[in-house]
Amino acid sequence: MKSPNLAASGAAAATERGLLSNGRGKTVGTLFASLLFFGLSVAMLGLAWLLVWSFLRAQGRLSWDLFTNPPSTLDIESAGFRPAILGTLMVMAFVFVVIVPLGVGAAIYLEEYADRNRWYNRFIELNIQNLAGVPAVVFGILGLAFIARGPFGLGFIPLTASLTLALLVLPTVILATREAIRAVPDSIRQGSLALGATKWQTISRQVLPVSIPGITTGVILAVSRAIGEAAPLLLVGATTFVVFDPELFNSGYTVLPVQIYQYATRAQPEFHDLAAAGVVIMLIVLLTMNGFAIWLRNHFDKKRVG
């Protein structure tokens, strides 16, 4: 009667070991999953903390006066963002005017015309990828040396800021537009060409209309990035203390993020509340824009799949 006993204990040991190791594996597995989830929570809570803190800090200062009052160093109570908001609007209008034709044009060239076997076309592509990774402050140096002074010599005016920011966000528009154009099925192009349309007629009447949602998403994301960018503008004159409304070709302008930075560096805590109020204005604008861009992209992605 020895052998069945042995078999039983062997089976028991095997089961036990299997269960035990399984149990340990399960614990480790759960631990690992919770660790990953913890990472996700840190990112979400970090963002939530940032948003809630900015809002709470700004709470006492949120009023329409922020839009109508100029900044002031003496009268903290009435100081606002009027010239900065007007400056941002003016600078962004010209960013938009520059990036739409240039970004879409470059994307059409790369997707529809460029022969990838040519070294110069591959070079242009690599160059755009690299440009997307150049630090914003380096674009400020470009703006300072090339646009404000140097060959262009425009001076420290809002238009200089527009051109500097336009070059900074151009890669965003190009990459988004290329993706939108690439998603247009080739059969549409071939159908158009077969009916005798020229290449440009095909692009302008078939390809571009279909890719407009994708292009719009790219442009919105690019402009919203430009709105929040302060570093390059420190170098092209946006740090002037201005209480009057800006003019496109006159020096003496500032933009919202730079004004926030300047309020933030003042000693009195009241100015920090004011800076937080500026952050809240900027975040509301940006979240609306980004939310719309993300919705637009998801909406049309779904349509394309369906």
Partner: protein, 316 residues
């Protein structure tokens, strides 16, 4: 133009209809020129960046020796008997990169692995836009929060260290939060490119979910994950506003995270904010530091692009 082959008449057109365009189509050629021109603008931008960095830097290196610039640890631009040892600024930048990666690597990878390997579809769809919002928060907003919200709390959590109003370590942590979406989105792309058959094979051999994630998915997506980390490092090197606002303005060669340290970007931002006459050596330092900054980020970006290309070649 790539279209020319299909539009050209065949060498022997006997019996075939004439396929040549009915007119020379000058308009098409002009449009081609305009489109090619806008693509060339990006190349011109790069050339202009390089020129605008190099020309004043040459002036700068006429006054200050390159060796002294690259090996000195003392920085006192704008003062009498000025010292230009860029290592002082570089120590600030290196700390920002280090503390930002301390946050962005674990958090960003955790997010990417969780979303790609574990999360149900609805979580993924809910979280992805939130990460995009985080990526879109302006850095002045993060800088303000880092200075007046994060710094006091870090000081409370680590009371055995001496924290001032400004500290390079806290600035680095805030930059880390900013770069989480870069790590998570690029890593997630890489994980998504790993074919499901690899995972199913491992599951069939009895692997657990954790083993599939760590031993199959992550190694298979390794080059993409490394690329995401390099990109995050490059962003941290170039980040200006957060470091300028929360990192402090004292140029000193130190690796103490509680100290205020001027980094390369914050030096450029701080110097540009003041009124400095063009042509002086102090003015030229902006460009010399900018040139170093540009070179470092260029190398990092090229590395990352190469890494991304590698996983694309393997799986796509």
């Amino acid at each position: 133009m790539t279209t020319s082959p299909d539009l050209a008449a065949p060498p022997d057109s006997g019996g075939l209809p004439n396929l040549r365009p009915s007119s020379p189509r000058y308009g098409e050629k002009i449009i081609f020129g305009i489109l090619a021109g806008s693509a060339v603008i990006s190349v011109a931008t790069t050339v202009a960046i390089v020129l605008s960095l190099i020309m004043p830097s040459l002036d700068f290196f006429r006054d200050v020796s390159i060796v002294e610039f690259l090996t000195g640890t003392e920085w006192s631009a704008g003062f009498q008997d000025a010292q230009y040892g860029v290592l002082a600024l570089l120590s600030g930048t290196i700390q920002v990169v280090f503390y930002s990666l301390l946050v962005s690597i674990p958090v960003g990878l955790g997010v990417a692995i969780y979303l790609n390997e574990y999360a149900p579809d609805w979580v993924r769809r809910a979280v992805t836009p939130v990460l995009e919002i985080l990526a879109g928060v302006p850095t002045v907003a993060i800088g303000l929060w880092a200075l007046y919200a994060l710094t006091p709390i870090v000081a409370d959590l680590l009371p055995f260290l001496e924290w001032g109003t400004y500290s390079i370590g806290v600035a680095g942590l805030a930059v880390g939060l900013m770069s989480v979406p870069i790590v998570s989105s690029v890593s997630q792309d890489a994980l998504r490119a790993v074919p499901d058959s690899l995972r199913q094979g491992a599951f069939a051999l009895g692997s657990t979910k954790r083993e599939v994630s760590i031993k199959i998915a992550v190694p298979a997506a390794f080059s993409g994950i490394v690329a995401s980390i390099i990109l995050a490092a490059s962003r941290a090197v170039g980040e200006t506003m957060i470091v300028l606002m929360a990192g402090g303005g004292r140029p000193q060669f130190t690796f103490d995270p509680t100290e205020p340290v001027l980094a390369m970007t914050s030096f450029i931002g701080q110097t540009a904010t003041g009124d400095i006459a063009a042509g002086t050596t102090t003015y030229d330092t902006i460009f010399a530091v900018g040139l170093l900054l540009f070179t470092i980020t260029l190398i990092l970006n090229m590395l990352a692009i190469r890494m991304v290309r590698r996983f694309r070649e393997v799986y796509e």
